[in-house]
């Protein structure tokens, strides 16, 4: 089992004397590494342990990343041989009339998702952290939507969003004399409807992250603040929020990165409609690559995905730089 070394044979006295002489003369010699000593010292078994990761990441992560860059500079559809086209794919994407629509919708989605999805989990988590009995029940309830498969969630909400007066939401709103609303079928309400469902599906995860961060707040800070005469609101403002700001900043950027890649909701709810009102960048990439049964336009798809990734990278960097002083202060 072990690749380390064989048991050394007993050494004869004479040999031993000779060896110690050799040792005295060249102590450095021993330290020299050869492939053999490397393998004996476990180098081989280390590599063996790394092998699954190297193979899997090489094939399904590192190689595809490089491949994306190459494909974005090629005209390729798997049918004809690929040809180099330089940045033609990029300019083609930028001049696609659907491109600005997709960008605008994606930005709107991300923004609305922030408005809906950012403050509510924070308030919920702060209130929950002070629950004395059955706190587990609260967090479990908040987390249930997160474990529901997104496809089920979307299709279920699609049923809820039924635009007829007997749709689930329209029925409920009808009780208080509102509606019926067209939900997914109107250009005005389609995108917000998607955001609503997405917020419902994801907010639980954020709540749990905040709760974990809240339990990490040093209780002595609250005690110190109380001794200093701080009331409840002062404590929230001067202890809780400052202690959470690192987490708050991270969840915000993660949420933006996530919503910028929204696909499932527009794909399953509306297929980008009505009249492209919910066409997002990812849906556009999907349409380029897989929307055409005659063969994908992989060049445009990879070019657009690289542009999105590039934008997100730049955005994150700027964001982190801009908030650095605030987050470490």
């Amino acid at each position: 089992m072990s690749t380390i070394d064989p048991v050394a044979a007993p050494v004869e006295k004479a040999q031993h004397a000779q060896m110690s002489k050799a040792r005295a003369e060249a102590p450095r010699l021993r330290a020299r590494r050869t492939p053999v000593t490397w393998a004996r010292n476990g180098g081989l078994s280390t590599l063996l342990f790394l092998l699954p990761m190297l193979v899997i990441f090489g094939a399904f992560s590192w190689y595809p990343i490089v491949r994306t860059v190459i494909m974005s500079l090629q005209d390729t559809n798997l049918v004809q041989p690929a040809t180099w086209v330089g940045f033609a794919n990029f300019s083609q994407v930028i001049h696609d009339p659907q491109f600005p629509i997709a960008v605008k919708n994606t930005a709107e989605f991300a923004l609305l998702a922030l408005v809906f999805g950012y403050p509510i989990p924070l308030v919920a988590a702060v209130v929950m952290s002070e629950v004395r009995k059955r706190r587990g029940l609260y967090s479990a309830l908040a987390y249930v939507p997160v474990v529901i498969p997104p496809v089920v969630a979307v299709l279920l909400w699609k049923t809820f969003y039924d635009a007829s007066p007997t749709g689930v939401f329209n029925t409920i709103l009808g009780w208080v004399g509102l509606g019926p609303y067209p939900w997914l079928q109107s250009q005005q309400t389609a995108l917000p409807s998607l955001v609503l469902e997405s917020t419902w599906a994801n907010a639980g995860g954020t709540v749990i992250i905040y709760l974990a961060a809240l339990t990490g707040v040093n209780h002595e800070l609250y005690e110190a603040a109380a001794v200093d005469g701080a009331g409840l609101w002062h404590k929230v403002w001067h202890v809780t929020l400052p202690q959470l700001r690192g987490v708050l900043l991270v969840t915000m950027i993660l949420q933006i990165i996530g919503t910028a890649q929204v696909f499932l909701e527009p794909y399953l709810f509306t297929s980008g409609g009505p009249a492209n009102a919910t066409l997002t960048v990812l849906l556009l990439i999907y349409n380029y690559a897989f929307g055409n049964s005659l063969g994908g336009n992989y060049g445009d798809a990879t070019a657009l995905s690289l542009m999105l990734a590039g934008f997100l990278a730049v955005f994150s960097l700027v964001y982190l730089r801009a908030t650095r002083s605030w987050s470490s202060g």
Binding site: S2, I4, D5, V7, A8, P10, V11, K13, H16, M19, S20, R23, A24, P27, R28, R30, A31, T37, R40
Partner: protein, 343 residues
């Protein structure tokens, strides 16, 4: 049972730190050797090189007559007791004890036999089925010892095994380890930073500082004939007082005089002595004796006096130290030049 030999052993870390420098040392069969020194002196590194946990940068280590430089820990036939015990948390006490034997493919009957014997020797029989986290600190420590003794190895290597115990338990366990080692007569290297532990346990003690062996000898040799100022002050508590020789009228310029607290007498002495007046700063009453902190010029001294001696803090008193009890050191090198100023 085997002799352990360091032949010019050095350890240089990849960042250039020289942890151990050409260590020459032989530990006899069945000997209890203590490596002692302040933290960072290389004692633990030396021990870990014997265990095979650190590569040896230069020189050779022999266990028995086998050079073990290139041999994995598994095949060195040594057992180690760690500072934090390093018990396997997911195994019961019995499984912890048996693990090394199982890996060496001993048969079941023999493993059970040895585990039972070790558990009996260490008073662990009632805890064999417990997990380490259910044990007290002292019990965990005994399991760690047990894991070493069941293996019946050529040598025990112990890395500050008592430092996580409270003071009372430490004294008790110290005696237990000694008894065990004498009974098994297994060559042992014991690393500690505590000179009391070193003095009470070691057949011989190796004092190290900054990777360099300062002196090796029996406790008595180290105490009475320290090789240099470092050993002189490191061994013994309170430590030896060192003052420039001429200050008390012994030796020449450039020599230091050292004497231990118990050799300072109040008033005159009936043997050839040096005499000096010093200011009493603080008196610590210990019951059977008292520690008196003195100031002699700009030097701080400590005297251990019988409780019958009446000294008053703030008063200036006359003290004597027998010449035979004064060691002389070269102030430049720190090396001892004489262990008695009487001659």
């Amino acid at each position: 049972m085997a002799e352990i030999r360091f032949e010019g052993v050095s350890k240089v870390y990849s960042d250039g730190t020289r942890a151990v420098e050409s260590l020459e040392l032989t530990i006899g069969e069945g000997e209890f050797m203590v490596f002692v020194g302040p933290s960072g002196c290389g004692k633990t590194t030396a021990l870990r090189m014997v265990a095979g946990l650190e590569e040896i940068s230069g020189g050779a280590i022999l266990i028995g007559d086998r050079v073990v430089n290139e041999i994995s820990p598994k095949h060195r036939d040594v057992a180690m007791v760690f500072q934090n015990y390093a018990l396997y948390p997911h195994m019961t006490v019995a499984e912890n004890l048996a693990f090394g034997l199982k890996l060496r493919k001993h048969n079941k009957g023999e493993i059970d036999e040895r585990v039972r014997a070790a558990a009996a020797a260490l008073d662990l029989e009632d805890h064999l089925e417990r997990k380490p986290r259910a044990l007290s600190g002292g019990q965990r420590q005994r399991v760690a010892l047990g894991r070493a003794i069941v293996r019946e190895p050529a040598a025990f290597l112990m890395d500050e095994p008592l430092s996580n115990l409270d003071a009372a338990l430490r004294v008790q366990t110290r005696a237990e380890i000694l008894k065990l080692q004498k009974r098994l007569a297994t060559t042992t290297i014991y690393v500690t930073h505590d000179q009391v532990e070193a003095m009470t346990m070691g057949d011989r003690i190796a004092v190290m500082k900054k990777g360099i062996l300062q002196q090796i000898g029996t406790p008595e040799e180290l105490y009475c004939r320290p090789a240099n100022v470092f050993v002189a002050t490191f061994i013994g508590s309170p430590s030896m007082s060192i003052v420039p020789g001429p200050m008390i009228g012994v030796g020449r310029e450039g020599q230091l005089a050292g004497f231990r607290p118990e050799h300072i007498e109040l008033g005159a002495s009936d043997v050839p002595s040096v005499r000096f007046d010093a200011v009493v700063e603080v008196v610590e009453y210990l019951g059977d004796e008292q520690l008196v902190h003195l100031r002699l010029g700009d030097q701080a001294l400590v005297a251990k006096l019988p409780v019958s001696a009446t000294v008053q803090a703030g008063a200036s008193e006359s003290f004597a130290v027998p010449l035979a009890s004064i060691a002389l050191f070269d102030s430049a090198s720190g090396e001892a030049t004489a262990w008695s100023a009487a001659a």
